[in-house]
């Protein structure tokens, strides 16, 4: 585990830069442009996990670190840890189909969990609707918005692999707070049950999904109010 800084075969350093689920303000974008020039960046690459790679000479790393921090961004992380959170273009500005604002939940998840040690790399993906543009069904922890603050959670997917695995639906109709609390519990169980360097899909296969499932009480506690919204509207509640 550590920072996403890699010495490449060509001798340059590849440095991953993370924003909140790939969102950049105009000031950050302009600042990155300046930073690329002042640090002698050869070129940049947007990655599949919504980070930005800067290819710089190794003696400019500290300048880049300072510049990135000054822009309110972070150097990425790598290894057996919770990675940065990937989110689709899911808000009312960016997508016609988004049912909620994925950047709020995605940002909170990233803030709280990114860089936390895990037995194997742990990837979180958030999508603003069931179409799942960010492949939440293939993430270790996949979240799909079904309303403004209502989500489905899929566990144990694996993408980017010769043996892709679809995650299993473990919770639905829960709110953002429930998504966060559930992840906390899952990471604890995963750490307790996993063998060294075991991806969560393999742990689930070995010990069973039941160990990871939230209780009925948990679901009831975090059930989204929105789910009752139509019932109230229709006079079906109570």
């Amino acid at each position: 585990m550590g920072d996403a800084i890699f010495r490449q075969r060509s001798g340059v350093l590849g440095v991953g830069i993370v924003s909140k689920c790939g969102l950049l303000t105009p000031a950050q974008l302009a600042g990155l442009g300046k930073l690329a020039e002042t640090t002698g960046c050869l070129y940049c690459k947007m990655t599949t996990r919504q980070t930005l790679i800067f290819l710089i000479p190794s003696d400019r790393l500290e300048d880049l670190r300072k510049g990135v921090a000054a822009l309110g961004l972070r150097i990425g992380v790598f290894g057996e840890i919770v990675r940065n959170v990937k989110a689709c273009a899911g808000n009312k500005d960016l997508c016609q189909r988004a049912l909620g604002d994925v950047f709020k939940l995605g940002g909170e998840l990233q803030e709280r969990f990114m860089n936390r040690p895990t037995p194997r790399d742990f990837k979180i993906s958030v999508a603003g609707c069931h179409r799942g543009c960010t492949d939440p069904y293939c993430a270790d922890y996949g979240i799909v918005a079904t309303g403004e603050d209502t989500y489905k959670v899929y566990l144990g997917g694996r993408g980017g692999s010769r043996k892709p695995v679809h995650g299993t639906l473990i919770a639905e109709e829960i709110n953002g707070e429930g998504v966060m609390t559930l992840l906390e519990a899952i990471l604890k169980t995963y750490t307790e049950c996993a063998e060294p360097k075991e991806r969560i899909c393999n742990t689930i296969e070995r010990v069973g999904l039941e160990r990871f499932l939230p209780s009925e009480d948990f679901i009831a506690k975090y059930r989204s109010r929105e789910e009752n919204d139509f019932l109230s509207f229709a006079g079906l509640e109570g």
Binding site: Q96, R97, A98, L99, C129, H130, R131, T146, G147, T150, E173, E226, E227, N228, D229, F230, L231, F233, A234, G235, L236
Partner: protein, 152 residues
């Protein structure tokens, strides 16, 4: 589901024609009535600017056995099918169009059919289950298709 071209007002108008009114029912059951339920779902969608009806399919009143006027149901169902965005694999059960379709289908056929996110596939399914209704539904669908030149 937040499709750009869905005209909920047009569906609502077609559904309203199916309402038997208090003159026939004595008292409006609203949520206990398949047509009243469609109206509620459509109103919710318009008011909340959301195409998703949370719990919408679960609460469809399956015990409404009223006999509706078939031609009105066919017209409303055809309108719903014309507004369907054809999401196919991305079909969502709680989409307002699907909720409305399911309720109208119950009123018309007395049973529900799995919807595969395509109006044409659905028309073929209805035709298999009930060829008479299937044929009529197809005629209504074709007749109201946008771009069709009205008969003289």
């Amino acid at each position: 589901m937040a499709a750009r071209d869905v005209n909920l007002e047009k569906i609502r108008a077609a559904v309203d024609r199916c309402c038997k009114t208090e003159a026939e029912c004595n008292k409006c059951e609203k949520v206990g009535c398949l047509i009243g339920y469609c109206q509620l779902a459509l109103d919710y969608s318009r008011q909340k600017h959301s195409f998703r009806i949370p719990g919408g399919t679960r609460h469809i009143p399956r015990r409404d056995f009223k006999a509706y006027y078939q031609s009105d149901l066919l017209l409303a169902l055809a309108e719903v099918l014309l507004q369907c965005q054809g999401c196919r694999d991305n079909h969502e059960e709680e989409c307002v169009i699907n909720v409305t379709r399911s309720a109208l289908e119950l009123a018309l056929l007395g049973e529900t059919i799995d919807y595969e996110g395509s109006a044409l596939l659905y028309l073929m399914q209805v035709n298999r289950i009930n060829p008479d209704i299937g044929k009529e539904l197809m005629q209504f669908y074709e007749k109201n298709k946008p771009g069709r030149i009205p008969e003289a």
